[in-house]
Amino acid sequence: MPEKAGDLIQGTLDMLILKTLALESMHGYGIAVRIEQMSKGVFRVNAGSLFVALQRLQRSGLIRSEWKASENNRRAKYYVLTEQGRKRFNSETREWERQVAAIARILEA
């Protein structure tokens, strides 16, 4: 359990990034903001953890990056989900739901 509200448990961040990128390709700051919005401000993403996670995902081939003009017309590095990343996201989502359901059953029992 995270000790402080807003911290992310290891591994979860990867999945949240994949989820964000599954919707559309995005630059680093956009990903951070999107995760906060989607979690309604529960998760706050630290820049260090974010970029380390991005490098890790990129090296394992789940996402790739390209330089593009941003919404306010500046060059920014955009991250794109690869086919492999999409598959991984789907399988991880299923696994996650299975686990959450199992834990929920235990807690409700």
């Binding site: 951070a32 630290n46 820049a47 970029f51 380390v52 490098q55 090296r59 941003s70 590095k77």
Partner: protein
């Protein structure tokens, strides 16, 4: 795929470092901008917005560090940083670096040199198919070294009768005198091969073809030759037209039909290449050999699944039946069969002679390296203490313990690397020096002709050196690294005290104790070996070794028959004796300690039961007077013996063994195996008895020796010995002129002092003595440096305390003693450990070298005394400095 991508990405950030960093900066900059922009839209000022972003998102510098150190390549990156930093630190302390690198270079160089010799002589395997199944066959006369060299008949019996060998090969080495169209006359090592040789070894010709089954047809010698690749390269520059060329080998023309593949040159072991290989059928033609005992060197290949013990058992039975044949002499009948694995090549005297000395030396250089490591550890530790402020600072700035330890280890590794590079250079020249000792003096069959093969580093040597280097770095680097663990509580206050801590002092002292212990062992071993060699050198040989000049005449192409030779040689001796400075001159077939000799079975008339082996020496008149061997009874040979009945002179040992108390003079002796005479067992009248003199090996007791008159036997004896009144060296040119004027067609071979010839006969012992002296001195020097630097450091740290003590009334001599006692304690403790170690290593030394005088307590006493003297010298300077401390100065010291 993912692995490849990770590697590729890592490599990119290693090699396109600037680009990667720039992209990262851009990306992070964008991140910061966007976040700040959003804040500013909510009405914050630019600066406030930036601060808020930092608070919320963490520092971007840290983010960059985190990303940079997340990939695998960051390990290499830190390594690079460590190395750069290490370089800087070492450059700041060039003296320290020089001491460490030199010490290591000497230690590693010594180890590499000895190991490369061991490698060349004992480890390298032959470049042939399945070298592990090759065996070498020997026979051994009781009490003599084992020899390869069988007779044609025994070869056939062994070849056809055994069930344990898949092949029996012949590779009989021989010296050839080779000349040709484009070649100067030159001595070359070569050999005679059986027809199955190349096929069984799985060799292919580089060009041309190999000798085949025709080699075994002794009735039809085929005049062909295969040369080695290195010979092809050095003499023909790899010219393919070598095929079909004629060369003349010992006056017999042969045609070159093929060249061996690169790297292979006979089975003799790799440092001695056989460059000219002839078919076995040529041995009777080229060598005028009847293929009797001693002429055929045999190598077998074990059948699959047969162990060497099984094979040995069966072959021994075959050998016993072979030597029972009616025409075999009694000497051969007493021989025993031996068989050894031959994966490294077949034995040469060099290999047998150097095996144990090299192992002993390997132990010695290992000890030197250990001392060097302890020494380095001490130095690094002292330096670590003086670097504690730097370390503390870095720890406070956030360097983890692992990072600091890694930095220290990297520095040790770098020092070790430099030491190794220099060490390899030292080893290269060291091996040459050692080879010069080995090859000094007399000609030994089996001496390396291609010295390069020794010094040429192969993968064995290189990997050995690398392992040594890394192990050394870890060994001496681990100590200061571990001592860093006390930096774990990184308060500057505590760290500042590490240098004075009790455990630190105790540890430094124990390092010195270890060095003293190992040095004591080394010094004792040195004293032991040196004492042994000086004993050998001063041994009573039965002749006077000083002022003897040996001149070897090469009679092989003189064209003189024995009649003419004997006349000319008597004339030569007379002329030589008339030279001023020459007291007497003589001739003999061999000279003492020359490495050659002859022996036979002797029988005294009337005592058929008393049949023993005696050494034979063919000498001219005046031999005993020249050598200073006393004539005990009877007379010397004289020129008037020529044409009379055969006479002989025996030594005291032979007289005692055959005749006991009775007088041998006038008795008759018969000898077996004097091959040059028609009647196989000639009879000699004993006309004189001389004092015992060593024959061929000064370590062995004097053998029974019979001296025969060279002129009576019609032998062409060509070894001149002169006894001079002045330095023999000054006589050499006069002797050369005299020889040239009397014998115009006879060139002079080797000219040597007797003392040098004796030295050459104890090469292994001298090698160990010379090198252990060097290494012992090196070890002692290192220990002295270790002791000195620890004491000097301690005194420097204690300046304050000493000042206070002296201010309170302590006398300078008290301070002197305080430091000396400290040193003596360490030395005594070291000896307490070292002396039992010395006793243990003496047992090792006796196992390696026969006849070592280990019972004597003198070496240990010498070792201990030397150690104490060295320790006192090393501690005197720091002690003096302690006694000269000025209280006023020292109180201002800190």
């Amino acid at each position: 795929m993912a692995v490849l991508r990770t590697i590729a990405a890592g490599l990119r950030s290693l090699f396109r470092r600037k680009t990667v960093i720039r992209e990262m900066d851009q990306e992070l900059g964008m991140f910061l901008d966007m976040a700040a922009q959003e804040k500013m839209q909510k009405g914050l000022s630019h600066d406030d917005a930036l601060r808020e972003v930092r608070l919320e998102r963490g520092s971007l510098e840290i983010a960059r560090e985190a990303v940079g150190s997340a990939g695998w390549e960051s390990v290499l990156e830190t390594f690079r940083q460590d190395i750069r930093f290490g370089f800087r630190t070492l450059r700041q302390h060039p003296g320290f670096a020089a001491v460490v690198v030199t010490t290591l270079a000497l230690g590693i160089g010594a180890n590499t040199a000895i190991f490369s010799l061991i490698n060349a002589l004992m480890l390298r395997t032959l470049p042939v198919r399945n070298p592990g199944t090759l065996v070498e066959l020997f026979h051994q006369y009781p009490g003599e070294p084992a020899f390869n060299g069988f007779s044609l008949d025994s070869y056939k019996i062994i070849r056809d009768g055994n069930h344990v060998l898949s092949d029996l090969l012949v590779d009989s080495p021989d010296f050839f005198e080779v000349r040709g169209e484009t070649l100067e006359t030159q001595k070359v090592i070569g050999g005679y091969l059986s027809g199955n040789f190349f096929e069984s070894l799985g060799l292919r010709p580089a060009i041309g073809r190999f000798i085949g089954a025709e080699a075994d047809d002794l009735g039809h010698p085929s005049p062909v030759a295969v040369v080695s690749w290195s010979y092809w390269k050095s003499k023909y520059n790899l010219d393919p037209t070598i095929l079909g060329k004629q060369i003349v080998v010992n006056d017999t023309p042969v045609t070159i039909i093929g060249v061996t593949e690169q790297g292979f040159a006979g089975l003799l072991s790799q440092e001695m290449s056989q460059d000219i290989l002839l078919p076995l059928s040529m041995e009777p033609v080229v060598h005028h050999s009847s293929l009797g005992w001693g002429s055929m060197w045999l190598v077998g290949r074990l059948k699959p699944g047969i162990s060497i013990d099984q094979a040995r058992a069966e072959m021994a039975v075959l050998f016993d039946s072979a030597i029972q044949a009616p025409d075999v002499g009694p000497y051969v009948r007493q021989m025993k069969f031996k068989m050894e694995l031959a994966a490294n090549g077949i034995s040469t005297p060099l290999r047998q002679m150097l095996r144990t000395p090299l192992l002993a030396l390997m132990v010695i250089v290992g000890l030197v390296l250990l001392i060097a490591c302890a020494n380095m550890a001490g130095l690094l530790l002292a330096r670590g203490a003086s670097r504690r402020h730097e370390m503390a600072m870095r720890a406070c700035l956030g360097a983890g313990r692992l990072r600091l330890v890694r930095q220290v280890l990297t520095e040790s590794l770098m020092l070790s690397l430099f030491g190794t590079l220099l060490g390899v250079l030292i080893a290269y020249f060291g091996v040459r020096g050692i080879l010069r000792v080995i090859t000094s003096g007399r000609q030994v069959v089996g001496l390396p002709v291609h010295i390069d093969a020794f010094t040429h580093p192969d993968t064995h040597v290189l990997s050995f050196t690398c392992v040594i280097a890394v192990a050394t770095a870890l060994l001496f680097g681990a100590v200061p690294a571990v001592s860093l663990s006390s930096l774990l509580a990184p308060g500057l206050q505590q760290i500042a005290r590490i240098g004075e801590s009790k455990s630190w002092r105790r540890f430094s002292k124990s390092l010195v104790v270890v060095q003293v212990a190992l040095s004591t062992v080394l010094l004792s071993a040195t004293a032991l070996f040196v004492g042994y060699v000086s004993n050998l050198r001063n041994l009573d040989l039965g002749f006077r070794r000083d002022n003897l000049l040996l001149v070897s005449l090469d009679s092989s192409h003189s064209g003189y028959d024995s009649q003419r030779w004997s006349g000319l040689s008597q004339q030569l001796l007379a002329q030589l004796e008339s030279l001023p400075g020459v007291r007497s001159a003589t001739l003999s077939e061999t000279t003492p300690m020359s490495g050659t000799g002859a022996s036979s079975m002797a029988l005294v008339k009337g005592h058929p039961e008393n049949r023993r082996e005696v050494s034979i020496s063919f000498v001219a008149p005046n031999y005993f007077r020249t050598y200073g061997t006393p004539l005990m009874a009877g007379r010397d040979f004289s020129s008037s013996d020529q044409g009379e009945h055969l006479v002989a002179i025996i030594n005291q040992t032979m007289a005692r063994d055959y005749f006991g108390a009775s007088n041998p003079i006038g008795s008759y002796v018969t000898l077996d195996h004097i091959t040059l005479r028609e009647d196989d067992t000639p009879t000699y009248e004993i006309v004189g008895i001389v004092g015992d003199a060593k024959y061929n090996d000064l370590r062995q007791p004097t053998p029974r020796t019979i001296y025969l008159s060279a002129y009576q036997e019609g032998r062409i004896v060509s070894q001149v010995t002169l006894r001079t009144d002045i330095d023999p060296e000054a006589m050499i040119s006069a002797v050369r002129q005299t020889v040239a004027s009397v014998m115009k067609t006879v060139p002079i071979g080797r000219v040597q002092m007797m003392t040098d010839q004796i030295d050459a006969s104890i090469v292994p012992e001298r090698l160990v003595a010379i090198l252990s002296t060097w290494f012992g001195a090196l070890g002692a020097l290192l220990t002295a440096v270790g002791l000195y630097s620890l004491l000097a450091y301690t005194v420097a740290r204690m300046t304050n305390e000493i000042g206070v003590r002296m201010a309170l009334g302590a006398k300078p001599s008290d301070m002197l003693w305080m430091v000396l006692t400290d040193a003596l304690w360490m030395v005594c403790l070291g000896m307490l450990i070292g002396i039992p170690l010395t006793f243990a290593s003496k047992r090792l030394a006796t196992a390696l070298i026969d006849g070592l005088p280990v019972q004597s307590p003198i070496p240990i006493v010498v070792g201990i005394a030397a150690m104490i003297v060295i320790a006192l010298c090393a501690s005197y300077l720091p002690a003096r400095r302690a006694s000269h401390v000025d209280p006023m100065v020292s109180l201002r010291y800190e």
